[in-house]
């Protein structure tokens, strides 16, 4: 009889200790979360996650560079000839139709970072030329000559007015 009681006690004790350990561990893990979360971007950094751009100041044929999340964004106001030329081809190295890369054909909005090693390309007559290793992009930001492997990336953006976009939200 006494032995049975002892076994029951032992079982209960083991359960109690296991339960307490589990509750304690849960709390210890939960206590780590604020520390880890504090390393995430702070509120002021997140505020810079979107950038509003007024397009009215950019003349036809002109390119404007703005900062978004610390990266350069090329905003290119394309002429009708440039648009037609871009729609006629899909690009050589990383084929992609032009209409997939714009929301409104006259405005090209791309991240101005070369997809090879990360330098910022310069605008030239035919598109962009990267000074670091010679990659060339067309007026749709598509790579026409390497060593860059991919077209210039597209940031999420949307038109909030005819002449205003917000970069950072699709």
């Amino acid at each position: 009889m006494a032995e049975n009681e002892d076994l029951g006690d032992a079982k209960r004790r083991k359960f109690l200790i296991k339960a307490t350990a589990a509750v304690g561990m849960a709390g210890a893990v939960a206590a780590c979360l604020p520390f880890i979360d504090s390393m995430n971007p702070s509120a002021d950094v997140l505020a810079k996650a979107t950038t509003e751009v007024d397009l009215s100041g950019i003349p036809v044929g002109g390119v404007h560079t703005v900062a978004w999340q610390g990266k350069p964004i090329f905003i290119f106001h394309r002429t009708p000839e440039e648009i037609k030329a871009m729609e006629a081809t899909n690009g050589v190295i990383d084929p992609e139709p032009d209409h997939m890369r714009v929301k409104q054909a006259e405005w090209l909005v791309v991240i101005g970072i070369c997809t090879h090693m990360g330098c910022v390309p310069n605008k030239d007559a035919a598109g962009w030329l990267c000074p670091c290793h010679g990659s060339e992009y067309d007026d749709s930001g598509r790579v026409v000559r390497g060593p860059a492997p991919k077209n210039l990336y597209l940031p999420p953006y949307k038109f909030v007015a005819a002449d205003k976009i917000i970069i950072g939200v699709a």
Binding site: P34, F35, S38, M39, N40, S42, A43, D44
Partner: protein, 418 residues
């Protein structure tokens, strides 16, 4: 699988034997009271302060023009930054409270007596490092109280003979407390806790050599020890739970209680606040500093007041073993000393008036008097207690200790080297 890994390690590193010898099976007196929980709590707070401190340092800017703003950035924009900051600030106060209670336990129970003198002295070293860390940490928010508190205290080094002014300038890196002071205080505030960790290791090695004292003040027989795990692991964790509840009440509901309003104003070198008040844990020593009319005297008195504790093993000359429980005069003196500390704290917190000055003088004299009188009182008490009659166990122990002492003396005098 786990056992195979542990075996592999054990062949190369004394992991299991260390854990057994110094943690799980470590012999601890069975009669330890909750006053023995505070060492563990201090260790926990050290880890908490380092953890919160490192994460705060990811956002803090140690530049006179940026530091106040960086702390507002932490409080407002950094995710849970307010929690990190409040835990760190409350943790500092909690650390001192725990350490003071830990010291009080040691004084009351005579745990500083032979063979535990080194424990007491390593503890003294740790206390000084903690005070330095806290002092430098307080400058970092660059508030009015931060700036002027640092100005007053760094000024005190002026009393050094011959090189006083140069030492102050050298400490500050500038003619006043400035950006140079702030950056070096940040560097040292980050460094010192790791030196404290080293000191704690030494403190614990000393502990494991002489083993814990206990409430009776007399070392128990070996059979009266119990393994540290599970008895004191469970007791320490329970004590931690109680502590964390009180700590959390402060962090979440009264975080600003210990923050001086003046420190919410950015430092202004052109204007001193109406009252310069240090944090509560420095108040008694600040009161002693202000009690001596002479600046050199004040600095010496303040320094001595912190160092006086170190002399305890040498001042206590009684042969009555144990702590206050066996020694009614020591017990009374202990409580009066505590009361005096509170009086000194009150004096330190308030501006100097005729009344506070008088109280401060009396309290300072009592403070040092307590220490200086211990050799005489301890001996007188011993004589009185022996005359009154001691419990036979105590008498037997004293006779044994006296015999061992005379044997050692005879051995030394005989010139025998073994």
């Amino acid at each position: 699988m786990k056992n195979r890994v542990i075996d592999w390690i054990d062949q190369r590193f004394p992991l299991s034997s260390f854990v057994k010898h110094d943690l799980t099976e470590y012999p601890t007196p069975r009669n330890l009271s909750y006053w023995w929980n505070f060492g563990f709590l201090a260790g926990f707070l050290l880890v908490l302060q380092v953890a919160t401190g490192v994460f705060l340092a990811m956002h803090y800017k140690a530049d006179a023009g940026l530091s106040f703003d960086s702390i507002q950035h932490i409080m407002r924009d950094v995710n849970y930054g307010w929690l990190l900051r409040f835990m760190h600030a409350t943790g500092a106060s909690a650390f001192f409270l725990v350490i003071y209670i830990h010291m009080a336990r040691t004084l009351y129970y005579g745990s500083y007596r032979a063979p535990r003198e080194l424990m007491w002295w390593t503890g003294q070293g740790l206390l000084i490092m903690l005070m330095a860390t806290a002092f430098m940490g307080y400058l970092l928010p660059w508030g009015q109280m931060s700036y002027w508190g640092a100005t007053v205290i760094t000024n005190l080094f002026k009393v050094t003979p011959y090189f006083g002014e140069q030492i102050v300038t050298w400490l500050r890196g500038d003619y006043t407390v400035s950006d140079a002071t702030l950056t070096r205080f940040f560097a040292l505030h980050f460094l010192l806790p790791f030196l404290i960790i080293g000191g704690v290791v030494v403190h614990l090695v000393a502990l494991h050599t002489v083993k814990s004292s206990n409430p009776s003040g007399i070392d128990l027989a070996a059979k009266d020890n119990i393994p540290f795990h599970p008895y004191f692991t469970s007791k320490d964790l329970f004590g931690l739970g109680i502590f964390l509840i009180v700590f959390s009440i402060f962090v979440f509901f009264f975080p600003n209680m210990l923050m001086d309003p003046a420190n919410f104003i950015p430092a202004n070198p052109m204007q001193t606040p109406a009252e310069i008040v240090p944090e509560w844990y420095f108040l008694p020593f600040y009161a002693i500093l202000r009690s001596v009319p002479n600046m050199v005297g004040g600095v010496v008195a303040m320094g001595l007041s912190v160092m006086m504790f170190a002399f305890m093993p040498l001042l206590d000359r009684s042969r009555i073993p144990g702590g206050a429980s066996n020694r009614p005069m020591v017990k009374l003196g202990f409580y009066l000393f505590l009361l005096n500390m509170l009086v000194l704290g009150y004096v330190g917190a308030h501006p100097v008036t005729a009344q506070t000055l008088l109280i401060g003088h009396i309290a300072t004299i009592f403070y040092f008097g307590s220490f200086f009188l211990i050799p005489f009182i301890s001996k007188a008490e011993e004589r009185w207690l022996i005359k009154r009659g001691l419990p036979p166990a105590l008498t037997a122990l004293m006779e044994k200790e006296a015999m061992e002492k005379s044997k050692k003396q005879a051995h030394r005098r005989s010139g025998d080297n073994k």
